[in-house]
Point group: C3
Chain length 368, copies 3
């Protein structure tokens, strides 16, 4: 952490970095009968350099975050100029009027809460399957953010984003149409750290945040809206309107935290077609998912978490059955989210029962 403030207060810079060391292991467990020897993986899961501060005026805030680990920067393709996807955030935020902020550049869209919570501030080893299947991640464009107090303890936040709709680090420009995202949030019991996992501050009164996002990606060409495989066909790309909605909530009280999330994706043309009407094989990942996570932090900053996740893609389109995951986790916050050790075990249950598996993970998350 380097924290610099210009002598004339004309700018500030905070530099921080972090890395996560992850060990994971997975065993096949078909029909919960034959427990098969599994795979294991040591990984620098995430490693980041982060620069933020204000420039020229406290009303103009910037953020630049780059990824360093192989998993952070993967996704190289012809659409990224055959280069790794190095930049996560490169965004300016301008508080141009009262509670209004205009954002320009590349950053997370105002999508599901779990995604927008920094991977540095999770109370679990990693995000849920609902997030990995449905999130709308980052994109380039403009966002307008606003917040509003409806009384001393009732906070409303609104966000609208207009973006390219192709995802982060794309250098081949817009294919199909643009992406439009709207989100509204209510905090009816007062402000709190609703974008941080675990109730480390042990809220004395119950706190609640509820959010709803509607996202429309017009003539999208990727299977998960602005991410996933490109739906190439014989004349270029299959284009489909893809709509994604998220409904989520965060509750915290005296060490308890509960995060709930529902996601649903639909499309007018989910099956990618060639010009002659034959299917290309690619399909939009339509369907829905639900996730509930709860945790309790003991006074020694040791936390127990439980998570239930279920994903139901539309089987007639995607061919995928219902997938359910049960996770039991433990976290020890040595220095809050700055230095923590997290471990969990998950049971993955598939509708066909053949792919059932057990997964164990252990992670050290470190910030400096």
């Amino acid at each position: 952490l380097v924290n610099v403030m210009a002598k004339d207060s004309s700018y500030s810079l905070v530099f921080a970095a972090r890395f996560q060391s992850l060990y994971s292991s997975q065993w096949e467990f078909p029909h919960y009968e034959e427990f098969e020897s599994g795979d294991s993986n040591f990984l620098i899961r995430r490693a980041r350099l982060k620069f933020d501060g204000f420039a020229f005026s406290p009303k103009l805030v910037y953020k630049l975050e780059v990824g360093l680990s192989n998993r952070d920067i993967s996704g190289t393709s012809v659409y990224t100029g055959n280069t790794p996807r190095y930049i996560l955030d490169a965004v300016l935020k301008w508080n141009f009027f009262e509670n209004f902020e205009l954002w320009a550049g590349q950053t997370k869209l105002p999508g599901n809460r779990e995604r927008v919570i920094s991977s540095a501030n999770l109370e679990t080893v990693d995000r849920s399957l609902v997030n990995s299947r449905f999130n709308i991640d980052r994109d380039m464009g403009l966002q307008l953010h606003h917040s509003l107090n409806l009384g001393p303890n009732f906070l409303i936040r609104e966000a609208f984003a207009f973006s390219q709709g192709e995802g982060r680090n794309i250098s081949t420009g817009n294919l199909g149409g643009y992406q439009y995202t709207g989100r509204i949030e209510a905090l009816p019991l007062g402000d709190f750290s609703d974008y941080t996992g675990a109730d480390l501050s042990r809220e004395e009164t119950p706190k609640l945040a509820v959010g709803f996002t509607y996202d429309h990606n017009a003539n999208a060409v990727r299977t998960r809206s602005n991410s996933g495989t490109y739906m190439v066909n014989d004349i270029g790309f299959h284009e489909a309107d893809i709509n994604t909605i998220f409904l989520d909530a965060m509750f915290k009280y005296q060490g308890w935290s509960v995060m709930v999330e529902y996601a649903d994706r639909t499309s007018d043309q989910p099956i990618a077609m060639n010009s002659d009407g034959t299917a290309t094989g690619a399909v939009v990942n339509v369907g829905d998912g639900f996730n509930i996570l709860t945790g309790y932090v003991f006074k020694n900053n040791f936390q127990v978490t439980g998570r239930y996740t279920t994903i139901e893609l539309e089987e007639e389109i995607t061919g995928a059955g219902v997938e359910t995951q049960y996770t039991l986790g433990f976290s020890k916050y040595l220095v809050g989210h700055k230095l923590k050790v997290q471990t969990d075990v998950s049971l993955n249950d598939y509708e066909n029962n053949i792919d059932n598996s057990l997964m164990y993970r252990f992670q050290i998350d470190f910030h400096f």
Copy 2:
């Protein structure tokens, strides 16, 4: 911006970063008749981390600049070890005697002015077509720089470079021969910021800089001297002596700036051949280009610019007709070149009139 000076003045370090957010849109306009719906592109156009300072003595200056954006680091090939081209500058500059400086490492060659002006200090959204077709960019090797005062207001600068001739970030070594670059500059009306676009300091007396570069790349194997496609043939590489000259000038006076640039490229063997004398299809981009840019900065730091660019590659060799571009631009310098908003519209006129197009761009350039 982090600015560190050792307590014993044994070294200094300035760290700075920047990113450009670009929106561009292009419409086809064949024969200026059928205006066709166009492509658009949101892009983090450039993002950079920059380290410079002196070490051990103020006479030894270093610079390290790395690119982060997909456009900055693209160009991955077998010649770069299949890795992105991350490093822009990694150079030591040693003032070993009076006005002499010896440079070692990778940095820009003393080529055309427009190229050597940092992309951070342009008065337009981006450089001209003359630059993109003819510039000699960066290379690895040695440079000798010298400056000379011919009287109180007459400055001469000379530079000579000896380099590998393959361009930046090449890890496969020298192919063909080396590259030799000489440049001479005259500032007959006194020193000024001749390597910065826009007359933001509103020079009270007229200021002029004139420069001339001669570059010889012996047995070069790439179509644009030390950049462009490798001219592979059946027995390895086609080798050609490629000569590039640049004549350029910068004029500033009371808010007015004028930058003129002429480039010419010739080669003894412009058509790449196989060992049996058949053409491989690759050709050296021989021809010339001319560019004139003028701008006027109003007292509120709002600037209007106009640019005329014409490129005439040798048609019998390259098959390309004359290409002319007319650009009208507007820049608002909020904090000089550190925070500026720039927009322009360009008409691209091709000799065949079929490829005519209109291009619109909007860019925010931010430094911290």
Copy 3:
């Protein structure tokens, strides 16, 4: 160099960077008769950003080092997620009890001394062939380090590593088994900078360090244990137990330095096989190597070095004959290892005499 210490001493951060500019040239010299015109190469050989310090307690030390040059980050493959190998070190070191340290993350294994000496602190232009053929480089996992004083001037150090066995930056997980490394070192004449080349501090009494490493990579799938080519076969990967031992020593006295290194690699299944017992063509690089390097630093910090290296891979398996290299080098330490100029000339003698060659190198190494 940026050196930050929190006001409350809760953390520290040292940021440093460096780059090496290398010129090398090589001539073929078959049978020492026909001296043929050679290849040359300008290269930013290494460029690094390095962050280290302690966090939350001086007992918890971190290090993050990333590579920037094309040679630093090459090795892109499907096993790295098709991304460059950006991270060198990302490791936490925890002094949890007395002289015990637990390391977690990715860093160098406790292998041969020459490898563990930072490339920043070499007394030669680069490491020897013994290192490039046999070293066990970096890996992800856990290490336990311990040191012990057997009297006022007799130091013992022990290290044990448990790692994935696939090398650095692998994102496809563990293939085959894990890797186990043990190392013991003795410094019978007192502590000294035994992991730095050149006796710049001109030790007044003789100083000696001796080290021995035994490394076992169970069911390894790469030709050089945790590096080299993957031994792909018809049913996945050929797996072989690969053992590597290193015996090395460093001696320093009054400007003299001597570094000796012996490496030996064996395997139970050195010839990669398909399921039907046919050879795939890949083989484990079994054999041994010996290296002796000596240098003398004059009082003006000018050093002469000589190096003899011989590599003898098992010819019936690898088909490679004995390779011997004789190197004469000169180093000028302008500011210790922080700014040095190094040059050397090497004669490469091959058993077949056809591949004999002469190599010249010149390098500037700079740290800031």
